[in-house]
Amino acid sequence: MEMFPLYAMNLLYTIATLGLIVLGLAVVFGFLGVMNMAHGEFIMIGAYSAVFVQQAGYYPLLAIPLALVVCAIVGWLVEWGIVRHLYRRPFDTLLATWGLAILMRKCIEIAFGRKYRSIDQILPGTVGFAGIDYPSYRLALMVAIALFFAALFIWYRRSNTGARIKAMMSNPELAAAVGIDTARLARGAFVFGTCSAGLAGVLMAPLVRVEPYMGIDYLLSSFFVLVVGGLGSIQGLVTGAAVIGGTNVSISTLSGATGGYLAVLLISIVFLWLKPNGIYSRG
């Protein structure tokens, strides 16, 4: 079983990256009830920030702040212009954000073309340990994601803003009556959601294919994770990522990728049927 370290690393990598990818939608859907169909497109914007920086010849790490800034601006505008007016109308937000997704894809297509982009690896090579060779960039990414989630968890538990968000989620009217600026909190949460998506895109860009239609697959995976893990908590997100990612990787290793995808679909169906709020449901 000398392959076990490699399988274990693959599992951890899948869970970590799934968590980062889904975080944005977990916040926006979980805390605000907004099914953001353009979630994948914010990831795409993050990836194209890396494309832009590389094309212009700037220092590669500048792509990260660029992605955050662009996604913050676009997220702010989207929340202010579209989403805020549709908070209690879930189907309308679904339609509106789907239209937004089409618009974003076409804009990127016009600006950058349809061709595939290759982001240069800033940390090439592999690290040898436990008898396997694992790509260095992936290791660094996994560590960064773990630290980020730990910090986020602690912040949410301990901070005043975290408390206010919990208040707003459990009873928005009472929270507003108590003096919490729910509109500002909601906008902040939405922007955080889009920025997380952008961060996922820019960090994953050297590892995945980059083209205007890349976002659609991420939306699908995010949906599976949220169905299983439940909305509105970081534990739910991590659990969902662990279950979906773990199932996919294990079944794929044992009986092929088709089996892995089938298992993910079956689990999602079972959860939708028996436990529609997921493992860690809100409230």
């Binding site: 899948t14 290759s118 294919r209």
Partner: protein, 385 residues
């Protein structure tokens, strides 16, 4: 003759002369050719280069007198979506706009649907790389078959690179399966063995478990029949795990766009086998590439074997029409065997609805291809009995 009779007969004569003149003018009109290319959907990436190459060929043919003395008028339609939409688009060109022949560069699902619609009533030239076996009446296939792409290439690679343990990985549909079925024969004939075979659904974008399998199997050669984004993702991950140091990769649908997505750093020992690459070193191919850049600019859609096949399609259609004397299917069917034409790929000769042509084996050199071996006049195998 009485005056009224005179007026009537001269009026009639004038009318007949006018009508005859109109018919004569119509005979010198254009010949409408439906050009079916993917402008949207997963293969939409190839739409721009396909259209450009088709336009180049049409202008060249028109400048030399057109087809059978009539200028070609292209009618483009988008067939990148589901087959039902493609059928509608093609029918519109055929019935409503009077297309007399079709040139198609699209996937096999669309081809199957179109063959069912045309039913051998209109000549239909299919130009894309595909799985072989298309024998419908009125259909003429220029696309490379798995036999062509692999029969000379696998033994050459096995001998030159000393590889014998092949891992086959592709997407799960008929083209990869047919390709692998053919590959197994050639691998065995060259003294090698197949150490793994996997088919992935199109939704997969994480290949870590597949790469672990490849490493475990000890393969020294990987035959990649993944398409599009999956090919890019797989090849990037393959190299990032350092597997390119131990195994070479051979792809039968890795063209310039895919290679750009894979990136120079991830393309070590990556080979592609096909009928056309932008960097083919023959005078015809270089002249073609220069003319393309001159006309469409440096930032135009990159030349690749999918787009360039549309150029071949137009040239073939002219050769076929000239040989048959018309574009009626009865005539083209009688004349098709032995039709030859020349283009950037070299010379092609039609046998059994498919063409024998040169096959190029190219190695990735950074983010560009470099042809390392040319196999001349490779037979497409026996597809139609």
């Amino acid at each position: 003759m009485e005056r009224r009779q005179f007026i009537q007969s001269s009026f009639t004569a004038a009318l007949i002369a006018a009508l005859g003149g109109v018919r004569w003018a119509r005979a010198a009109e254009t010949i409408k050719v439906g050009i079916l290319i993917p402008l949207s959907g997963p293969a939409g990436l190839f739409g721009a280069s396909s259209k450009n190459c088709a336009l180049m060929a049409i202008d060249e043919v028109n400048a030399a007198g057109g087809i059978l003395g009539r200028q070609i008028e292209p009618l483009f339609a988008d067939v990148g979506g589901p087959p039902a939409d493609a059928v509608q688009a093609a029918q519109k060109l055929w019935k409503a706009e009077g297309a007399e022949a079709f040139i198609g560069m699209h996937d096999s699902a669309v081809r199957g649907a179109l063959v069912g619609v045309f039913r051998g009533q209109v000549p239909y030239v299919y130009t894309a790389v595909y799985e072989g076996g298309e024998c419908a009446k009125g259909t003429y296939v220029l696309g490379e078959t798995p036999t062509q792409q692999l029969q000379p290439v696998i033994p050459w690679l096995a001998e030159q690179k000393k590889v014998g343990k092949w891992y086959l990985i592709g997407n799960d549909y008929n083209w990869p399966r047919n390709t692998n079925a053919a590959a197994k024969d050639y691998i065995k004939a060259s003294g090698g063995s197949v150490v793994g075979e996997e088919y992935l659904p199109f939704t997969v974008d994480n290949f870590d478990s597949n790469l672990a399998q490849i490493k475990k199997s000890g393969a020294d050669a990987v035959l990649v029949t993944l398409v599009g984004g999956a090919s890019v993702g797989f090849n990037r991950a393959f190299a990032s795990f350092g597997l390119a140091d131990n195994a070479l990769r051979l792809g039968t649908l890795i063209e310039e766009n895919t290679l750009m997505g894979i990136g120079a750093a991830n393309s070590k020992d990556l080979y592609a086998s096909g009928g056309y690459f932008r960097n083919i070193d023959t005078p015809e191919a270089k002249a073609f590439a220069e003319a393309y850049t001159k006309r469409f600019g440096k930032d135009a859609a990159v030349l690749n074997m999918m787009g360039e096949s549309c150029y071949e399609g137009v040239k073939f259609l002219k050769a076929l029409a000239e040989k048959a004397g018309s574009l009626k299917v009865a005539d083209t069917e009688a004349a098709a065997e032995g039709t030859t034409y020349e283009g950037p790929r070299g010379k092609a000769v039609m046998h059994g609805r498919h063409v024998a042509r040169n096959i190029y084996l190219a190695a990735a050199n950074g983010a560009e291809f470099e042809v390392v071996k040319t196999f001349e006049n490779v037979s497409p195998g026996s597809n139609c009995g």
